[in-house]
Amino acid sequence: MNEPRELVEHFFRHEFGRLCALLTRSLGVRRLDLVEDVVQAALVQALETWSRRGVPEDAAGWLYRTARNLAIDALRRERTHAQALPRLAENTEREFSPLEAQFADEIGDEPLRLLFVCCHEAVPAESRVAIALRTLCGFSTAEIARALLTTDANVQKRIERARDRLRELEVEFDTPDAAQLSARLDAVLAVVYLLFSQGCHVTHGDMPIRRDLCDEARRLARMLAAHTVGDVPTVHALLALMCFHAARFDARVALDGAIILFEEQDRSAWNWSDVREGMAWLARSAVGDEVTRYHLEAGIAWEHCRAPTFADTDWRRIAELYDTLDRIAPSPLNSLNGAVAEAYLHGPQAGLERLAAVPPEIVPARYPGWHAVIGELHFRLGRHTAAERAWREALRLTTARADREFLRRRLAVCRPDGEEPLESAV
């Protein structure tokens, strides 16, 4: 016990989520606030004890016992929720059984249950991510606010709204049956994917990629795929998609934190074990006749990973995939990415035409990427004035440091139209 033992990375955070899931099973979703309080208190006790005496062998078990005892104390004090006591006591007996060695495996799907509870259709969509990040991933209010680009107060409100709804519904933690779970799978995947995308496209601050969020999203999705309910092609496709994106993280960020243009990325810096994992998921996703947005997006990401050099990219295939994606999941961002593919396939003018076809009422005028792409396409046509106008708009809208640097570098190469011969534009 005296030997200092290194805790694995994110141990506290992940244990927070696991303990919340475990205790919610005994106390019910209505007591999420109590659950979080005792789990937090258990971590405080661990901090005090472990920093004095070192980390115990069975750190996870220590935390669970402490949190459970704190919960029992709290319930005794309340005396109003006595019905939950027998369930906690039951767990005490189980804990001392010879099965204790399998402790961690035995309760493997509790976090998954909690994920489905967080995605209950009664919980407002924008509250789902917040409550999932809090209870399952152990993020603080401030950390969630940073991740979701909103204020602490707003996150607090979303979490409270989620708790209120769950309380009103008197949702039992362990009630949803397989059919209900499958029905809620879409919402769960939406939350996981949102988590991942928030991690990929940070739009403010100094960190171009919030790796933690991406890692959490992949952790949740892998957990999902390991369970009967989530062991379905859609989940495999989402995992493939996330792996292909994650593979390119290291290459996307230059040493000074600037986002590296896709064309200039060093492909040898891609993480090939992520690519291999993605390929395995992609293969498993190609079963049945359902094609989801995740399948198509995974297909697109795979096309990018598969090309040995940028010049080898199969833009025809990618443009086709975007066309299909636009039909089943229309979104201005899909149009934007589709336009980029179109531009590589048929030239910048074709890309601009595709963007011009997007109905004005759904143009994401406040999204810097929209203007950045328009600027790039104009620039490649030699229309520097139009490029400059678009890039300035993009710069005005973006707060992320790496993106601002990138745009400034692009603006620096703009010349008033006519000063430079057309062919010098790439």
């Binding site: 200092p4 805790l7 994110h10 506290f12 006790q45 901090l47 920093s51 152990g138 602490d152």
Partner: protein
């Protein structure tokens, strides 16, 4: 050598509670602090459970003391040559507590 009692106070404001991730970092920093000053830290220090009892004018009340802005979370016994040396040790404490009160033991007992 003089002995000092370090009284560590934490805020009761839930907003100021460190997140699990921050707590894990703090844990490592505290452990390093304890290792570094192991020759000065005397046995007997401990953390305190969050709630307790209070006896005032014959009336016992339950903690936690919600009205307080901060509460005593833990204490350590430190031996040091003088206040300056004791304060120097306290200064190197990791963050995470609002205040550290440093009191020399009077030596009556």
């Amino acid at each position: 050598m003089p002995k000092f009692l370090f009284i560590f106070r934490h805020s009761t404001d839930p907003q100021s509670r460190p997140s699990p991730e921050e707590m894990q970092v703090l844990g490592g920093q505290w452990y390093a602090w304890m290792q570094k000053f192991s020759a000065s830290i005397l046995p007997g220090g401990d953390g305190l459970k969050p709630s307790g009892r209070s006896l005032k004018a014959g009336i016992v009340t339950d903690g936690p003391y919600v009205e307080a802005k901060e509460f005593v979370a833990s204490f350590s016994l430190i031996q040091a040559d003088n206040y300056d040396a004791a304060v120097a040790i306290a200064r190197e404490c990791p963050g995470g507590c609002n205040a550290i009160e440093i009191r020399e033991l009077a030596g009556y007992a």
